[in-house]
Amino acid sequence: MTAWLGSRGTGQAGRPTWWAAWAVRSASLPLPSEHRWRYRQEFLAELYGMTTSQQLHHATGVLSRVWTLRVALAEPARLMAKEDAMAKSWRCRVRLHRWQRLRNPEGGWYRECLECGKQDDTGSRGGPNTFGSP
């Protein structure tokens, strides 16, 4: 009987209980399909060696944060772009750049922001993007 219960995963000998295994498998379902298998295996492997109460705590934590993980996996580019934008100074975000006037190899003038590096060649002859052009 004990062996049968153990094989069904009742938390004996550090094996995951059936409900903890079910919970972490369910937690992987909202994840992007290319990551689903990996995280299902990862969450399941982490349950081994835990006590029943630790499994409950772990499974609850994984379930409650699965949406955060989904966002982190599905939209890293959007998050990074947002971070880059927030890293700019407030002046650059409201387009009050601190322009510095520079000359390119062709003799034309252009300007570059000292803070964010934005370049502007409007109205100049031979801007920064015309290096090497005929």
């Binding site: 990862e42 399941l44 772990h58 934590g61 944060r65 993980l69």
Partner: protein
């Protein structure tokens, strides 16, 4: 000029990086990282995913025989060489802001 992408340096992210930098050569799996960082379950994996996306972390499956061990392979995480440098720099920048608490100071820094 391409700017190096940096993850959001939230306090949990700083704690995870600090835990990984405690011994950068050691590989840890998710629960171990959470325990070392003092973070609850579920908080660590989104942070690890972001750090892996920007290349600060690398991960691999544990090489074991699941039948012999009686459990499936775990996923182990480790800082990349670039990630170590960038993490130290990012943490130093984060700590340099005013009002940093003692438990968030860089490793080895005296109060």
């Amino acid at each position: 000029m391409e700017q190096q992408r940096t993850p959001r340096m939230t306090i949990p992210t700083q704690l995870v990086l600090r835990a990984l930098l405690a011994d950068p050569t050691q590989e840890l799996y998710g629960v171990e990282i959470g325990a070392a960082a003092g973070l609850p379950s579920g908080t660590v994996h989104p942070i690890l995913a972001r750090l892996e996306t920007v290349g600060w972390l690398t991960s691999r499956w544990e090489e074991i025989d699941p039948r012999a061990e009686g459990r499936p392979a775990r996923r182990y995480y480790r800082l990349t060489p670039d990630g170590m440098e960038l993490a130290r720099t990012a943490l130093a920048r984060a700590y340099s802001t005013s009002g940093r608490p003692a438990w968030l100071r860089p490793l080895g820094e005296e109060p």
